[in-house]
Amino acid sequence: MSAEAKRAPGAETAGGRNILVVGVGGQGVIMISKVLALIGQRRGFEVKQSEVHGMAKRGGIVFSHVRFAPKVWSPTIAKGEADALIALEWAESLRWLDFLKPETGVFIADTRRIVPPFACLNRQQGAVTAYAKATPAEVVERISNAYALDASGIAAGLGDARAANTVLLGCYSVALDEPLEHWREALDLFVPKAARAINHAAFDAGRTWAEAARAGTQEVPTMPALFSARGPAVKSELEINAAWCKGCDICVKLCPERCLALDKKQIAVLTKPDACTGCRVCEWLCPDFAITVHQTAVGAA
């Protein structure tokens, strides 16, 4: 786009900002973008905010563009034009990376991972996932203004993990020269009365974290391997009693993984043992008790 050419490299448009807030449903993306929009308004700028949160129920993607400047034409931020990317979920932070201004864009992300069910490549326990592989250390290494923090952990430590969004807001606040009271007033407008104290604490914690990070005294958090907390994997084996099977086809048609079939004699056989998750649906629904699922733990945690 030609806008790229008109803009002095790295400079903010006369004190204005393009801020992209991303996350998944229920994390409070919209709440912090409203606070940011209000701060822009207080500074006497024209503000445009646009959001997509239609799929937000049950952990769908939510993003919000906040733009404030003397004059804002488009409500959305173009790729490479965001002064800041605030991400409430790790994979979302990576997905939106190319919206960040090269060189000067500020990256702030919670290292918490919310793995959507469809990221799982199969339904076995301890399944491999298609979830983003990049670690915070790798991202911080590549982006000059990157801050990756365990905001959810910090918020949980203060009493409510849901205030992670406000921790990130506090973290970003050091990039804007705005008195603390203004932030507090804006927050109070958008959080319920009962949640004010925790949100103030979360904001302060984020701000303190960012100041320390600027001074170079914060460590980049590491992320545990996905699913390591699920304990030992379970190996399932199917015992099919051919003498009891009457070939009704229920197990074949109702196995979620479609790993059973009827053989030439109309007896159920396991054709895809590797796809079997041990879910027991076949065992439960066999009217003739011909299937028994045996589960044994393999390896230690």
Binding site: A243, W244, K246, G247, C248, D249, I250, V252, K253, L254, W284, L285, C286, P287, D288, F289, T292
Partner: protein, 277 residues
Amino acid sequence: MTEPLAFDIREYLRLELMPHFMCPGCGHGIALRALLWAVHELGIAKDKLAVVSGIGCSGRVGAYIDANTYHTTHGRPLAFATGLALARPDLKVVVITGDGDCLAIGGNHLLHACRRNLDLTCLMFNNEVYGMTGGQVSPTTSATRLTTTTPTGNAEPVFDACRIAEAAGASFVGREVTRQVPALKNLIKSAMSHVGFSFVEVISDCTEIYGRKNDLGEAPEMILHQKADMRPEAFGNVADQPFRPNRLTTGILSQHDLPEYGETYRARAALLRSGEK
């Protein structure tokens, strides 16, 4: 108990009688699994369990259980079970009956068992037909269904067994489909743990006769359709039930704390014996 106990149904079956007599895909086998799974999770010893059944494919199911079983006459399992439960309060008495057994020939016994509120559990396997005798119409056969006695389609309205049971005084009423085996097991557990008369309608499939005759598909299609069609509208007005998107209401439909008859009966008997009355 955090981990559910491992359950192997074969420990509760009379293996020498297996495989059982039921047709391929018959829902009654699945219902039997749910019952034995519930017994296992409740930790009921086999010699403390008594299963009383009537006549029908449903009634035959009892024969495969390795416990005290009592195969009675058509329509009368509740009457036999009443005597047994009064005489042997140490036993967990479960009745297995069919829609024909329970609502047609045995309808009167059902009403009075509900009214008395004696501590026993009645499982009615509803497949909408007289399965054993070749597929005659039953009080739960849906409208327009073909049976050997309704060659042009059933023209009679259906009984809703759960409503009848509740109206007659049953202190626990529930319904579940065989498609939802863990839910059915849990419902039977709740029914058996309830003190008083508990009635559970188990929606089952007669694949070979009713399914064939009405072109309802093979066993897998029938079980997949359980929640979608061919069932009566039922219990829509139970106030505290969560909304369910299908026409068939399942789960615990009603539960009341009412005096249990066996206790009252034994207290009276003790009074008589003591000579004070």
